[in-house]
Amino acid sequence: MSATSIGTSEFPKQGQEEVNYLNYDHTLRSWLTTGDHKRIAILYLISTTFIFFLGSLAAGMIRFELTSPAGVVLESETYNKVFSSHGVIMVFFFLVLALPATLGNFLLPLMIGARDLAFPRLNLGSWYLYMVGAALMLSGLIFGGIDTGWTFYTPYSSMYSNTQVSLVIIGIFFSGFSSITTGINFIVTTHKMRAPGMTWFRLPLFVWALYATSVIVILGTPVIAITLLLVVFERLFHLPIFSPELGGDPVLFQHLFWFYSHPAVYIMILPAFGIESELIANFARKRIFGYHFVAFSTIAIAGLGFLVWGHHMFVSSQSMYEGLVFSLISFLVAVPSAIKIFNWTATLYKGNIRLQSPMIYALGFIGLFTVGGLTGLFLGSVGTDVHLTATYFVVAHFHYVMVGGTMMAFLGGLHYWWPKMTGRMFNDGIAKWNAVLVFVGFNLTFFPQFIVGWLGMPRRYHYYYFAPEFQPYNIMSSLGASALALGFLLPAFYLTASLFNGPKAGSNPWGAHGLEWETSSPPPVTNFLETPIVTDEVYDFDPVSEYEQLRAAQDLLDEGGNPGGSY
């Protein structure tokens, strides 16, 4: 542990409540004008949670509608708007920024020992950009909705759809710039704000992941911003770029769209990898196995991820040769992902594993991401993709990655750092069972979709009365979705409840390792009262050392009435 930050001078006086980032000022104005990365993270957490439940509501309607082959309540037009809203909300307004902007924003400076991000006002600005984008998008959904799917394929989106495509796209444009500003902030912070002694290979793997994510964001997002803008221009001013009637090529839109949107998948999953590494190392009480390999595989995924977008277009009349090239590179991405899975598994060996709720999520992540990743091979393989493209197999695959991967890691990370963010402990017993519920509900929801997709059920279909053999799987899936919904709702309740009646968490309730656990919970406004100097390696656990016992003693001390928890 950093030697300097453990000093007696930092103990708060007994009985005096410590000033932290949450309580130094209670006005709404102080929240809305804050430059503090921790407060902005909380703002993001509240807004993305709201957005997430909106998107989940749409998902629930989809699943309800699909229980019957001829639909239940919705008209086709409404159904199309519902699934488009689900996609747009979840992809552009939740997944691409949920992890970086909430947990990343909160933790990046803490983990590297900085007082704040490099550009606090830019950080606040990015939240406002996000809110403006979300407001535009939601107003688009309210005043007519969109029925293009989240992919906005031309010429349907540019010449045929009679819905609020332009408004929603402009919302996405804003949200994209919110991501870009956050990305710039993270890159500069990681490069320039690390505490003394915090070398690149002492960085926690979450920081590596955030860095790689940010690089993808700043290189990819502008491309989709301009591409979607061209769609808007095509709609509003009939600026002909992707319309075949004037010589444009609709497939060019798909190229440019996926040039961002495939790397965007890695924007969503890389932070989850980072969180996963943190959780596995800290709950197995062991340094992550093959730290360098995991770190470099993060960068490799980020780089290779930019070269594989064409695998979304194997049947889109792209040239056959291009398809083969993209397929080959897609298979190569499988390798760094495999490295990560194996390294996490190997970390468990000779660990001292605590099965607390974040660890349950982390173990669930390994299982679900393994399935999600391996089924990706079916879609990356240019031959097998022909039959499976745009069926429920694809839907199941990316939900295994996005929900089974990103959401599991997000929940795990949220539970793990909740005491740090709020200073309160939640009920770990409920949380553990909730993790199991999410795991089971998730599998029940999405595993049947692999089979029904393999049978050939196309995605985005409202009816399947002509193929009643799809029904049993859809019913299973909808049942699972109910369980999953419960699994997502419960944390909202028990985590919120912990704010009021949760026991105070010490500075390090999990006995974890990392700079963020060196400061009090919740952290002071400037994160550290004194700039920490890093002298030890990352995840420097020894499963059987005295450190362990020391830590246990510390836990006891915390429970015994050291409210601030700083030591």
Binding site: Y160, T370, A390, Y461, P472
Partner: protein, 376 residues
Amino acid sequence: MPFNFPLAPPQASSLAPEYDAVFYALLALTIFFTGIVLAAVVFLTVRYRRGTKVDRSRPVYEDLRLELSWTIIPLILALVMFYAGAKVFVDIRTAPKDSEEIFVIGKQWMWHIEHPNGVRENNTLHVPIGKDVKLIMISQDVLHAFYVPAFRTQVHVVPGRYTDIWFKATKVGEYHLFCNMYCGTQHSEMCGSVIVMDQRKYAEWLANNGESVPHLTMAQAGARKFNSVGCANCHGGTDTLRAPSLVGIFGKKRVFSDGTSLIANDEYLRESIVNPYNHITAGYGQSMPVYTKDQLSEEDILNILAYIKTSGGTPDSPSASLISESAVPVETSKHNGDTPLATNAIRAQIPSSDATPTVRTGHPAVGAIAARGINP
């Protein structure tokens, strides 16, 4: 409806077995690796959970050989699988040279198909078994995708450009045809079926201008009914053993067992079918079964009457014999032992004209099925 859980789509093209080989290889790989990882995670978690007394000394943090092995082995496997997939893909995309060509136009929200001899159909594609068929496709508005799961093949149908797809069907039957690229409001109804026929029947079908069953005359329909409900067992041909022959009966005088007589006109013949014991022909007993409305509709009776009228002539002449079964085209066997597809019900409603279907509101499924008189 019985819930069955099919685990694989039917294999109905020459590409399907080749495709499935790669698919199942990947599946085996997936199951293998998932199994290994899950087993390892569970085993290690249980073994090294907090509080167990196990040897935790000398933990390993890095092992280059291990890292390299789980880099290189997946890499090799990935390259092998890439090769297998690529080979299938090239086969799927390369149509044999002398394929039969059929043309497809996609539009919101229907498939319009033209066979080279001019036969047109909507949402249904008839193809011969065992022949290479190449579809040349274009869209009239937005992107669509022509997807036949049983053939394991699909390609986008693009506005402003021809794309093509080929297959060689290997199994007679009816298979799903889906539009698999989101194309607007009624995307999920832009589907239909591919009907694989044996080559002789396909040729007949083409020759019949796209009608799988040529229109039957009333007499022909009557003849079929005559045979199928069993009239022919007793009244067939010149057979007079159990019942009088009906050959040339129309307009003849009939003498009954009670001594009365009537001219055999429509009313008499009809009554003899539905109420056979009112007038029993002299020399015969009460042996004819009574046919209820369920067995014979009014239409059937009219058809049978028409048939009886045509079988004029003398009992010995060839024209008196029943129209042989084989001369009447038999309805194509629709399902080759497979689950019946509900698409028949829907497709029956689609007019064969070129018109874009009117927007259907309300509950299309119910509407379509109700139109057939089946209670959904």
